[in-house]
Symmetry: none
Subunit: 309 residues, 4 copies
């Protein structure tokens, strides 16, 4: 519905905008760039309104470090108004008007984030920042821009929220992983693809990592289970492939589970490094190195064997 769309979009924007203060200067410097402030008064108003609305989208896409509050913008608007010699009050009400009209247009196309999605987004935010126990339902509800009661309409309790959050994403991962295991690639290609899917997933879901891997244990042992069960479910498939490869002499005869857990661990280690580097590069870049080491070890045997490298 039109009205609801608008409401949700604007509200969520403002809510999100309402937390930028921490990152001082972040907003301000951003605000002043990239706005064309020439042209008629009308055009400036238009510009500002669109700009303000654009920020919302950026914010939603995660391209901005944090959220913004309307009040943050008011001084900016006023400075511009002063600069352009437009009465601050007229300027302001003009922008407001434009925003109202504009938002209507913009929102028509925007897929409204459902309440549930808003909550899940906020939950991921908070959980990954503070961990399960230190996160409070209050904060999640606040960040989601919904009432606490509403949250409880969608999730039976905090734990359920957490689990559903993780499970949801995990399902995506599983789906991708399954697709690979169900494929017809040879073992090594399959493993490489498998690793790539993992890296890509966490590349995309950075904050999820600690939730899944590091928080899992506390929350009633369910998530940890989940994580490993999902991962393990398709193992038989993999196992068969691997045993086949082994018999062809392609793979060494080391205990399958040891290697499996080890490889997963290796991958997690690399993710740790990546987290320690603040996710400043793409995880996938690590893939070649990882594959090289896991397949052929880190000892350089090339003096004798040339086919590698």
């Amino acid at each position: 519905m039109n009205h609801e769309n608008k409401q949700q979009a604007v509200r969520s924007m403002l809510k999100k905008l309402s937390q930028v203060k921490r990152e001082e200067g972040g907003l301000k410097s951003f605000v002043m760039r990239s706005i064309r402030l020439d042209g008629s008064e009308e055009e400036i108003l238009e510009e500002m309104a669109q700009w303000f609305l654009a920020v919302r989208d950026l914010s939603k896409q995660g391209a901005l470090p944090s959220r913004f509050s309307l009040s943050e913008f008011i001084p900016v608007f006023c400075r511009i108004a002063e600069d352009k010699n437009i009465g601050a009050d007229r300027f302001f009400s003009g922008v407001l008007e434009k925003m109202v009209l504009e938002s209507e247009e913009v929102l028509r196309g925007a897929p409204k984030p459902s309440t549930k999605d808003k909550i899940l987004d906020a939950a991921l935010d908070v959980f990954s920042e503070k961990g399960f126990h230190l996160a409070t339902v209050d904060e999640i509800a606040e960040r989601a821009g919904v009432g606490k009661g509403t949250l409880y309409r969608y999730f039976a309790n905090k734990e359920t929220l957490f689990n559903e959050l993780v499970q949801l994403r995990l399902d995506e991962l599983e789906k991708s992983a399954m697709a690979i295991l169900d494929g017809e690639d040879d073992v090594l290609t399959m493993i490489t693809k498998y690793l790539r899917v993992y890296f890509e997933f966490f590349d995309q879901n950075q904050r999820l990592y600690r939730l899944i891997v590091q928080e899992g244990l506390d929350v009633g042992d369910q998530v940890q289970d989940l994580y490993f069960k999902k991962v393990m479910r398709r193992i038989p498939l993999l196992k068969r492939k691997i045993y086949g490869a082994r018999q062809q002499g392609l793979l060494k005869d080391v205990d399958f589970h040891t290697v499996f857990y080890g490889v997963m661990g290796f991958m997690h280690g690399v993710i740790q490094k990546w987290l320690a580097r603040d996710c400043s590069y793409s995880l996938v870049e690590e893939l070649p190195g990882v594959v090289e080491v896991l397949f052929y070890g880190f000892v350089n045997t090339s003096k004798f064997v040339e086919s590698q490298n």
Copy 2:
């Protein structure tokens, strides 16, 4: 007890004493203790011994410009002995004996598990069972068989208890790891030994694992930091060795940190498997397989297989 024995005893005592520092106040309270020159002969001996130890330790800490030798104090002891009508000879050896016993009591002496140990044991129990947040001080105290207040006599708060618990064990691990890195082995031997030490450690401290590795993040980022910092501190040493080995063409030219984190992760993965098997076998048994894969990969290259790459 002959003189050499005494010397030996004193030396070992002082060495051990110097490890007490951590226990906040432990040493300070020594220093603060007054010199009681009345009471029974026994008490005077005790008093002098402790006083001397306090001075000695200040000296060792570098708080004093010069080092004190026991022999310098002998005249003082004699004077006091005379004053107190205790045979100077008996007085002196008495003091020495007290000094030795004191240290023995404080450091070696866990004839019955001390209260602190009982608490630490119970804490390990509960923390590893429930995680930091779900563990309650009440339960730890109860399992330790002490009152809640007693627990707080020994640990300032829950967090301190947790950290001290982990740090204590971690120090052992670090010490072993350091010993290896400081050694003169070639790189591959060193890495093998390093992995062995890890496996042995967790073999011995099964329940500790999740505390150290999985709880770390919550508890004020301190433990996680600790864990990795401790491990990382010696990295430069390792790095140098590895770069050396690389230049000799012994190791591949894969990013050092990637491999390091990866190898640690591999190891953790194997530990996970072991935990999943309820620690039903010795972790060290995994070592050969782990080393084989990490060194030379899991691909069998011995047969010039073409399907790869």
Copy 3:
């Protein structure tokens, strides 16, 4: 409601609104609220009213370079009204009405004693009965007829509750006292009035006395400080008056601070007597005697008695 009425209403509303600031977040939350342009007509009116109030207030705070007049916004409101298919006329007056009601609700509206008031009342009860340390939060909550958690919704902790309780009343006293000191009376009249204000205040706030005067020291030195600082703040004014009077030979040349503290003490002494008599009479009745003694002493000099000195 005619136009003047509205003007009047808005003015009084805004004035009252500006007093809300203390209630932390009270205003901020206004500002933070988003503009909802969907939902029922009623909701839109509400939304616009609140939004305007927020801007208005920023303006009043000096955060904006110019002041906004309501009239500037009228076109915007009209545009929105048009857009939403609400009669512009009805829309506007609706918004205005909401604005007035909003303020009424927030500020005047204590038809039933608010939760916060109930807590403050109970706190005064308990604190004055048992003192700060012996009063328990449990008892205060119980007497207020609210849950413990509710109390903590309104006051960050016990100390804050105490301070807010005292500070609130103290502000009244200070306001009255200031009014007198700022007046144009001659010194003696001023002092008399000052004493009267004090007596009247404690007549009205019997139980508060011990809290303010006798508990002060413990609670982080804040209240005691507060009490005296508030009282002292206006001293320079008084001092000037008194020095003037002194030069005219009206007052004796006794150290100002000695007399000031002494007079305050005298007053407190009389209050003590009154408390000892269970506040069974009006404190103000003591005023004439107090003034007589403080002004002219308790020695009867009217008869040229020689035995003195």
Copy 4:
């Protein structure tokens, strides 16, 4: 007994010395003055030892801001030793020896403070610093240099300790006050003397003031009672005198109790001022001003009446 004397003196000294750290620099600067560091090695040792012991006495007399720890002295000793080219260790043991001998001598004459007195002293310290509720029995025992259990041998509980502490001192005050009221002076002289006694008492017992006047209420209403009951007990005597004086026309006919409470309050007010000035002058100095105002008021009537002033 000799031994006990020594023990107590040294121990109490060291205990007291053990708290100077707070007042930084306080000790160090003090330490370096007033020591003659010329003469033979023997003389220096002697000097240091005596000096160290002297500090104890100063400390006990309250002439030093706080307490000292032995360890604080060691660096000083060492610096001197170095400076004088005496082996630090020999120097140190020399001083120790001297101290032992010296303390024996010094202590023979010192009236040993009984355990109970030590506790009362410490209690006054702590209570007046922190107030009844914030003071802990632990700290009192520690500062008294006795075990907690010992404290409980002498006082049934914390409250009793507090009351006994206050009562003890109050008795002194009462005794002095009684002596005056029992005297044959005329009323005004008597009142003047009475006020003097009060001022002298609190001059001598600075820290006691807040205990008696400001803490009283909490501690089971007993102390407050005590204070006023003691003060009031002799009132009838005073009252009779005053009524007599009144009938002679010497005193004004203002309600006796009002004036009595008022005068006491005036006095307390002046004490407050004095406390606010950190007791930096003698309270008794205020007496003339206080008497002048109370007797004849602060209004200057001298234009008409010459007999005053």
